[in-house]
């Protein structure tokens, strides 16, 4: 594999692992959601980078060009971006409700509060 091919995969892997680290290691729920977003963008790179042909152009048909980059990953990633933002909106609504119910958005504090009163079904909303 050429150097630039290796570079594109290396960046994708770095972003993916960084997003995964943020999601796994941080307790703050909003930061977890941002880390999840970073993970999703790395997957977009993973799909789109192999579709690019050097010397090609954007996949809009025109008589002046003959080589196009692959349009199929673009379609999949377009759907993925919109679904990602829908998930983010729902996740943020859940975070707001959790904040109102528990008074905090740190995971370990929430788990501690749940361990104190297990049969409550959560503190009063």
């Amino acid at each position: 594999m050429t150097l630039i091919g290796f570079l594109s995969y290396a960046i994708t892997i770095f972003l993916m692992v960084a997003g995964l680290t943020i999601v796994v290691s941080w307790g703050n729920l909003i930061k977890t959601l941002v880390g999840l977003g970073i993970f999703q963008t790395s997957v977009y790179l993973l799909f789109i980078a192999p579709g690019k042909l050097i010397g090609g152009t954007a996949p809009i048909l025109d008589p002046r060009f003959t080589v196009y980059s692959n349009p199929l990953p673009h379609v999949l990633i377009l759907t993925a971006i919109v679904v990602g933002v829908a998930t983010l909106a729902l996740g943020l609504a859940l975070v707001v409700r959790i904040r109102e119910a528990y008074g905090t958005i740190e995971e370990d504090e929430i788990l501690a509060l749940d361990a104190e009163n297990p049969d409550d079904g959560g503190p009063r909303a």
């Binding site: 594109s8 993916m16 680290t21 943020i22 909003i30 673009h74 377009l78 609504a93 975070v95």
Partner: protein, 169 residues
């Protein structure tokens, strides 16, 4: 972009995290434009840097929480991440090379889309043609997903006015 991600990971102020997330989305949109994905770049710029930042900031305002607590043990997540990185590097050795016209992604169904899109649909933008016509069912499902997310947010966050009985949804 890597620098932005590292600062996001290490920063404790949530406001910084959100603004850097918006800047990261813009940089990602630039990279996508270089990779010839113009539709995706436009969507990523408007959705990632626009709507995501607005929603995160409004959620932050509602949570009234400015700082994340300092993280305790970092060695276990780092070990998991490095192991995952190793497995991914091993996986990418089998993936197609970067600029290879004979890769499987370019050979199965895409030549038909590129050759016949204008003749069959009359739309030069192949991405729109594939999204709306060749793969129209996927777009139908995606619109339903967006609709469901909107309904879910309404169900979670709407306030009822029945406050005199003390029962608030």
């Amino acid at each position: 972009m890597a620098l932005a991600v590292v600062v996001i990971a290490r920063s404790r102020s949530l406001f910084t995290v959100i603004i850097l997330g918006g800047a990261y989305s813009f940089m990602m949109a630039t990279v996508l434009t270089v990779l010839d994905a113009v539709d995706v770049a436009m969507t990523e710029a408007s959705v990632g840097a626009g709507i995501s930042t607005v929603l995160l900031l409004s959620a932050l305002y509602l949570c009234k929480n400015e700082e994340a607590a300092p993280h305790g043990r970092l060695w276990l997540p780092l070990a998991v991440s490095i192991t995952t990185a190793g497995m991914l590097v091993y996986g990418t050795l089998g993936l197609p090379a970067f600029n290879d016209p004979a890769a499987p992604i370019h050979t199965h169904v895409v030549p038909r889309y590129l050759n016949d899109a204008v003749r069959e649909t009359g739309v030069p933008n192949v991405v729109t043609a594939v999204l709306a016509s060749y793969r129209g069912y996927d777009t139908l499902g995606e619109t339903t997903v967006v609709f469901t997310a909107g309904v879910g947010v309404i169900a979670l966050l709407r306030r009822r006015r029945r406050q005199k009985q003390g029962a608030v949804v």
